[in-house]
């Protein structure tokens, strides 16, 4: 079941399913390793989200996190 990243819980292991944001943001996220199918863990979700993807730790604005659809692993 997919849900926006912004709705994920701290510590939740997730899989990125769909990037439903502006194409510039999609490109930037992709380059940072946030591609469809990437697996990660939500470190913090207090409006803005910190997402651990592999060894990369990304800080993502809440507005953007709403457009990233993920599913629990």
């Amino acid at each position: 079941m997919m849900h926006p990243l912004s709705n994920g819980k701290e510590g939740e292991e997730i899989v990125v399913r769909c990037l439903d944001c502006h194409c510039d943001d999609v490109c930037r996220l992709n380059e940072l390793g946030c591609v469809e199918g990437a697996q990660g863990r939500i470190i913090s979700n207090q409006k803005n989200v910190i997402l651990q993807l592999g060894e990369a730790r990304l800080a993502i604005a809440s507005t953007l996190a709403k457009t990233i659809l993920v599913s629990s692993k």
Binding site: H22, L32, S44, I50, E55, A56, L58, A59
Partner: protein, 714 residues
């Protein structure tokens, strides 16, 4: 490897230790210049490797060659040899963070497509080991087809190993497109190269594949490279190429990225493994506190408070030493040189002017030290994250935090750092409010006023009223920047919002040698750049304050019967001469304008000269007060200010209200020609720097006026 000198470029993601490797390779044989036409710093040095002197270029950190930011574009253009007088590098050293291998290899595979010899440096191998990550460099090398060396840039022996590897390199060009684009992507690339890039652009052959991939992904092209009259042809070719990818079942925007990551995954799956997560959980625990929505901003405020308190108190003994040195130096010159004009000029002009500013070198060094430590530990990125929500509310962007923090050191690098903000509106608002951040040039004025007029009462056992006032001035700058941004948010139209995305680097101990080297470099710049201007202005000012030579009238019984405004019985001859000098006369002309702010003509002259650079104010005051000083007297500027009395009223020139008014004026006024020039260049218009100058200076005048009027009536 040939014995010819090579041009070697260091390329990699931000925070991979590229600059540490650059410093280790070049030592002191480096220079910082600007890229042609832009003010991004270009670090070039030389290194002797295998007995040959090679040129080393440290490129700005980049996540990708599909550039969106200026830094990334510079890395790309340097690698493809776009800059005049810059040849294509003979070897690219791609520096990757071993503890974050997959993400870093994305850029490496792009560089490998450029047709230049590549060597992969797995840096921070010690950090990776600490995280339980083990990497087999030979397997990575076999998969990628490029030489690989695992190092920790902190170890000298590892740097020697790197040099050895470079000297043994056969400079073989890696196989292009090794990551294997699928057939439809290949077809689309060929279409673009043959029908558009090759016939109509000047993109070098080696960069055509990368450029084609960029166009397919982004669906638009970079005007700077292309002939405008063929724009339509370009657009239609890009469209056709994207349709080919879609026909093959791919997403033009993501196909390349996904293919590269698949390839990287295959390369690293056997070559790297994770055995434990101990260190990562420690980072998690730290992040849980410092990025917490309540604790985060509190910690950020405490960090700033500690930083400014430390700057103020730790620097004091060093400042006293420098002060003594200049006072004694001045006395020595005065007693050694025969009496005459040169003697006076050197003692009262040059030494007094320079001494008044060099005294603040310890504080400048502490300020930069703290900024480099915060950057080096990885905290600065967390500060941006923590403040993003607040920044967005007031009309700024999370990415504005780092430029604004840089503004504490100097507005110029801060304004240049706004280039990481992709949205124009966010960027221009950040530029327009950035000069409110209390830069290091304001520090001498703040420090002087606080030391002279704010009591050093201890508060809560560890803080002093002076330290807290100092901190308060920095907070005042931040608050004014926030208010100004809040107003500007309503003036400038809202466009496409760019949400905050930032990589948070792992926490690590800063590399102390780099911190000290960079801090020393900034101290040197302060002394050489500001020092030159200060000495020059002090000399001019000394002449303006010493000529025309006026003899003080001899006091007689008749003269004393009526009050003569140009002559005061309590005045010494030096003071009389100063009041009647060119500087004195000019000061008297502007005095009515600044009098409501609590300033006398001497401060007025300081204000005028400080429009060249803020720190000149202190040198100016020191020169003026030294000229006025009676022969044989010798006291510090602080003492001179405290003891200065208005000859007409008999009241002290400086009150606490005057000091506060002056500090507020300095906090808000736009008194920096270099900042004006850089804003003109960054915005390509006089409109923005003019608006900045007018609104900041008007605000400064009004605020100082209110502060002084309230303060003096309390």
């Amino acid at each position: 490897m040939s014995k010819e000198p090579l041009t070697i470029a260091l390329v990699g993601n931000p925070n991979t230790g590229k600059s540490t490797i650059f410093n280790a390779l070049t030592g002191l044989r480096q220079k910082i210049a600007n890229y042609p036409g832009i003010t991004v710093e270009q670090k070039v040095g030389t290194s002797i490797i295998g007995g040959v002197l090679h040129k080393i270029i440290d490129l700005p950190g980049a996540y990708s060659l599909n550039y969106k930011k200026l830094d990334e574009r510079i890395a790309y253009e340097t690698l493809i040899g776009s800059y005049e007088h810059e040849e294509i590098p003979d070897l690219a050293l791609v520096v990757v963070d071993s503890s974050n291998l997959d993400r870093n290899l994305y850029l490496a595979t792009q560089v490998m497509d450029l047709g230049i010899p590549v060597m992969l440096i797995l840096n921070m191998s010690d950090v990776a080991k600490g995280k339980g990550i083990s990497i087999n460099p030979d397997l990575i090398s076999n998969s990628l087809g490029v030489p690989v060396v695992a190092i920790s840039a902190k170890n000298k022996s590892d740097i020697d190993q790197l040099k050895q590897k470079i000297s043994e390199s056969d400079l073989e060009v890696p196989e292009p497109l090794k990551w294997g684009p699928d057939d439809s992507l290949k077809e689309a690339m060929n279409l673009l190269i043959n029908e558009w890039i090759k016939p109509y652009t000047n993109i070098p052959e080696s960069a055509r594949s990368i450029e084609a991939l960029r166009l397919i992904s982004e669906g638009e092209f970079n005007n700077a490279f292309y002939q405008f009259e063929k724009e339509e042809k370009g657009k239609s070719t890009i469209k056709k190429a994207r349709e080919l990818v879609e026909k093959g079942g791919g997403n033009p925007m993501a196909t390349e990225v996904l293919s590269r990551y698949n390839f990287i995954g295959e390369c690293t799956s056997n070559a790297s493994s994770i055995t434990s997560q101990t260190k990562a959980s420690l980072t998690d625990r730290i992040d849980a506190v410092v990025t917490h929505k309540v604790a985060g901003p509190v910690i950020f405020t405490l960090v700033l408070l500690f930083m400014f308190q430390a700057i103020f108190s730790w620097a004091t003994p060093f400042m006293d030493m420098i002060d003594l040195l200049f006072v004694e130096g001045g006395n020595w010159v005065a007693n050694t040189l025969p009496e005459g004009m040169l003697n006076d000029l050197l003692v009262d002009g040059v030494i007094a002017g320079l001494g008044g500013v060099v005294i603040f070198l310890p504080q400048i060094l502490f300020l930069f030290f703290f900024i480099y430590v915060l950057e080096g530990t990885g905290y600065m990125a967390r500060a941006a994250f923590v403040m993003d929500g607040f920044m967005t509310k007031v009309g700024l962007h999370g990415r504005s935090v780092v430029p604004l923090m840089s503004g504490f050191a100097c507005a110029i690098p801060g304004i240049m750092a706004t280039r990481t903000i992709e949205n124009w509106r966010d960027r221009i608002i950040t530029i327009m409010v950035l000069p409110f951040m209390a830069c290091s040039a304001r520090l001498p004025v703040y420090a002087l006023m606080i030391a002279a007029f704010i009591p050093s009462t201890t508060i809560l056992g560890i803080f002093t009223l002076q330290g807290i006032t100092f901190f308060g001035l920095y907070i005042f700058g931040i608050v004014m920047a926030v208010l100004a941004a809040f107003v500007m948010k309503r003036i400038f139209p809202t466009g496409q919002q760019t949400p905050f995305i930032m990589e948070l680097p792992a926490y690590k101990m800063p590399k102390w040698s780099v911190v000290f080297q960079n801090t020393a470099e900034r101290g040197k710049v302060f002394i050489t750049e500001a020092g030159k201007i200060i000495v020059a202005i002090s000399i001019v000012l000394w002449f303006l304050a010493s000529f025309p030579k006026t003899e003080m009238p001899v006091l007689t019984q008749t003269d004393n019967t009526e009050y003569n405004s140009s002559f005061d019985v309590t005045e010494n001859p030096e003071s009389y001469q100063l009041r009647h000098s060119f500087a004195g006369q000019f000061g008297k002309i502007i005095e009515p304008v600044i009098e409501p702010l609590g300033f006398d003509w001497k401060i007025g002259i300081g204000l005028i000269t400080s429009f060249a650079a803020r720190e000149v104010m202190v040198g100016t005051l020191n020169t003026i007060y030294s000229i006025e000083e009676e022969d044989g007297e010798s006291s510090t500027l602080k003492e001179k200010l405290i003891n200065d009395v208005n000859p007409e009223t008999g009241q002290p020139v400086y009150s606490i209200a005057t000091a506060i008014s002056l500090m507020i004026f300095f906090a808000l006024a736009m008194q920096c020609m270099s900042t004006i020039a850089i804003v003109k260049r960054e915005t390509n218009s006089w409109k923005w720097p003019t608006a900045m100058f007018v609104y900041m200076t008007a605000l400064a005048y009004l605020s100082s006026f209110i502060a002084f009027q309230i303060g003096s009536n309390l």
